[in-house]
């Protein structure tokens, strides 16, 4: 009755470990499913959501505001999946999308570069030089994505409960370590962690439904009582809270909504200059 997130770099056998852990525990193993759910719920093609969550920002890529919107959708879908419990997630940034939930075991799988290169050579039928170049390029892009999009360096061991070097430990032993750790009492759901996860899920769902109003909107929920923090300018200062309340109150699980507005000074100045 817990959740496991498996973070890894490419060709580190993280997905293989996640799948085996799910099989041993009888849990559902999810990665792409989260994107499919977000795509279905919010009507955005899966490919766009994939790019927003997997590819580093670039000049010709997704605009920053669109990326914030897509990430809000993926976060809401991710939280909905986590609420189902008994889940192993191996998609990006699982340890960052939801924080503070005590029955969520955050695992990081590392592998030595040489092993990753060898695995890539074998799987992609390419030379060592090509494999090394591609892996280093992927790592660089992934590092930028984590830093720019999620604001954290996912190689920081402090983000995880368990960090395993699969090159030293091996896949089977890694699976054994993860499955035995998740059974520890401290990773079992409690009234506190279940309520926290429910609050997070509701906050993420509301944010996803309001993100078009303000890409930096923040939502905090406590047992259905919701606080929304948004910014607007000019006439929006009066109209936006009304729209937020109206939309949020229609969502299942919402009992009350309090809106905290701040003025978007940048937008106001831009408006005065138009």
């Amino acid at each position: 009755m817990s959740i496991v997130t498996v973070s890894r770099r490419t060709y580190s056998r993280g997905k293989e470990i996640a799948e085996k852990v799910a099989e041993v525990l009888g849990y559902e193993c999810v990665g792409r499913e989260v994107l499919l759910l977000a795509s279905k719920e919010y009507g955005i093609p899966e490919e766009r959501l994939y790019k927003a969550t997997h590819e580093a920002p670039s000049f010709l890529g997704i605009t920053p505001n669109a990326r914030k919107r897509y990430i809000a959708y993926v976060k809401a879908a991710f939280a909905a999946y986590m609420l189902k419990d008994n889940v192993v997630y191996h998609g990006p940034a699982g340890e960052l999308l939801i924080q503070g939930v005590s029955h969520l075991l955050r695992v990081r799988i590392n592998a030595d570069l040489e092993d990753r290169v060898a695995l890539r050579m074998e799987r992609d039928k390419i030379t060592e030089k090509e494999a090394r170049k591609k892996i280093l390029r992927d790592d660089d892009k992934h590092g930028k994505l984590m830093k720019w999009v999620y604001g954290r360096d996912d190689t920081d061991a402090g983000l995880y409960d368990l960090v395993i070097n699969v090159s030293q430990i091996g896949v089977d032993k890694a699976v054994e370590i993860v499955t035995s750790t998740v059974k520890l009492k401290k990773f079992q759901p409690m009234a506190y962690s279940i309520r926290l996860l429910k609050n997070i899920e509701l906050s993420c769902r509301i944010a996803a439904h309001l993100i078009d109003l303000d890409p930096d909107i923040r939502v905090r929920s406590e047992s259905g009582n919701v606080h929304v923090y948004a910014k607007a300018s000019g006439r929006g200062m009066k109209r936006t809270p009304e729209i937020i309340k109206e939309r949020a109150m229609k969502l299942p699980g919402v009992k009350s909504v309090e809106v905290h507005m701040s003025e978007d000074l940048f937008e106001r100045i831009a408006g005065e200059m138009r």
Binding site: G100, V101, S102, L184, K185, K186, F187, Q188, M190, A191, Y192, S193, R195, L196
Partner: protein, 129 residues
């Protein structure tokens, strides 16, 4: 088993006992409330309770220490920890040290009643609701 459930609540905020005691009395629990953890420990020396509900942050003795003492003396007793300052680390520590459950304030008496019912069930007492 239909015996009455003995519950001790320890919280340095009197309002907690004032709200929780009647809510638990109503479902057939025999409740004692203490604001001073040292007095509660003295009472626990005299009597075994089925369920201990304790705040984590208290003057004189923190809830985790109390949890350890109860676990050592009465391994069957279910200890439910409550706190207004819940963190992931605190929740995991309480759970690892044997707490039956952990709940963050503010909560409704009905939330605690639900946990008490689960604890009662694990003790073989089925008529608590």
């Amino acid at each position: 088993m239909t015996a009455k459930l003995n519950v001790i609540i320890i919280d340095d905020e009197p309002i907690v006992g004032k709200r929780l005691k009647p809510a638990l009395d109503k479902i057939g629990c025999d409740v004692e409330f203490f604001t001073n953890p040292l007095e509660a420990v003295a009472r626990l020396e005299e009597k075994e309770f089925n369920i201990v509900v304790a705040d984590i942050r208290m003057e004189g003795m923190d809830g985790i220490e109390l949890l350890e003492r109860v676990q050592a003396k009465y391994p069957r007793t279910k200890v439910i920890m409550i706190t207004g300052y819940a963190t992931l680390e605190m929740a995991r520590e309480a759970q690892a040290k044997g707490a039956f459950d952990f709940i963050a304030k503010p909560f409704k008496p009905a939330d605690l009643r639900e946990i008490i019912a689960k604890a009662a069930e694990s003790l073989g007492v089925s008529d608590i609701r």
